[in-house]
Amino acid sequence: MVGLITMEDLSNEDVIEVLDAAERLLPVARGESYLPLLQGRILGNLFFEPSTRTRMSFETAMKRLGGDVVNLGDVSTSSVVKGETLFDTVQMVDGYTDIIALRHPRQGAARYAQDAARVPVLNGGDGAGHHPTQTMLDLFTIRQAHGRLEGLDVVLAGDLRYGRTVHSLSHALVRFGCRVVLASPELLRMPSEIVEDLRASGGDVTETTDLHASLATADVVYMTRIQKERFADEDEYTKVAGAYKLHARDLADVRSDMIVMHPLPRVDEIHPSVDSTRHAKYFEQAFNGVVTRMALLCRLLGVDVPGGEA
């Protein structure tokens, strides 16, 4: 079975199909209707590092569709500490479940698990590698707001060096012909090999240190957290990070349908004053994680979501 390890496993058409299916599942995700498409199926949650949000999102997605979930226990007490290989753990869970969601601190773990498994593997983040379900929920949120993915102006802001979220999202945006502005402090620029890859695949990519100058023409502003630990001292952090914060008053001259996104949790890069503006989409974005994961679970388990074109 083929799972979802990187966004390259999905063509643009596949992406649109999944987003369409997710849209049809919205009432089910909200609990307004019950559609047990995955009754009798079991998801194995293999989380080798704590990520409560992603784990809960997978679990909710499965249960909204009538499926069941088994969880690998706390990593610190389970067999993993006793030195079991990922291969052995996957062999065991593979026998118990119909699909696996994996999160692992080591890069390449998801591809490795897929090679070891009979059932499809959904990559829930592996090291600094890929996190395709996050990218899918980001794309869903963007399309929901703008009605399309093609040709949008998207600003990615904050820590672009270490944030894997923005790495795979930028690739996906370029695939759909979006113009991408990378706004970050010098120290936290997008890795040059990624920028080169984006440009090599025809991407219209601009780098800047001035977030606020980029706001006026943006359709999407995607904020990420800048961590204190990245800087030598607190003063330097305060000086630099201050330029990558949004306040409601910064949004006076932006496009009326511009949206502000954030993978959450946020600290202070988005001021609470933004929450009540029409631009704030980060809470819906978090909710969208459930509905896109529902659509992905159906797809990988070979279950059609009713309501699509025959």
Partner: protein
């Protein structure tokens, strides 16, 4: 033949392997890769920067009393895909062996990225590197996707 005269720069060997047409400067990498630099139990002779029609200049290695195996040829493809290998028995070329870099290099070297899943010594699946560009010898790990640096890679022979 110029080829023969350059071969004679080193004494002919009775039995063993001659690796010719190594790109100039590549011989040391080849020795590393074949484990012939430290603790080799057989005589090895090395000629560097010999004029060559094909390559401009080249290196040659002669290994006595040892015939390179298929596995070793696969390793050689990583650093000297243009090399030609002759197996010598009783002073004559008994066999010529082709080297070629395929689409994937399996269980020859391990990924150089420190946080790759394959760094765990007991994980049993094969070490797999995808050949992204054959001419430039660009490789990426099948699992973590990281590009591999050849100089670091030759130190990661399995």
């Amino acid at each position: 033949m110029s080829n023969e005269s350059s071969m004679r720069r080193v004494t002919a060997i009775r039995n063993g392997t001659v690796i010719d047409h190594i790109p100039a400067g590549g011989a040391l990498r080849v020795l590393d890769l074949l484990g012939l630099r430290d603790g080799a139990s057989v005589p090895v002779s090395l000629v560097m920067n010999v004029p060559s029609k094909k390559l401009g200049s080249k290196d040659i290695i002669k290994v006595e009393d040892r015939e390179l195996t298929g596995d070793e040829l696969a390793r050689l493809a990583l650093v000297a895909a243009s090399a030609s290998v002759a197996i010598i028995r009783a002073y004559t070329v008994a066999e010529k062996r082709e080297i070629s870099l395929g689409d994937e290099v399996v269980n020859v070297v391990r990924c150089t990225f420190s946080n790759c899943i394959t760094q765990h010594p007991r994980e049993p699946l094969p070490h797999r590197l995808r050949v992204v560009d054959r001419a430039e010898v660009h490789l990426r790990c099948h699992y973590c996707g990281r590009p591999q640096d050849l100089d670091a890679l030759v130190k990661n022979v399995i």
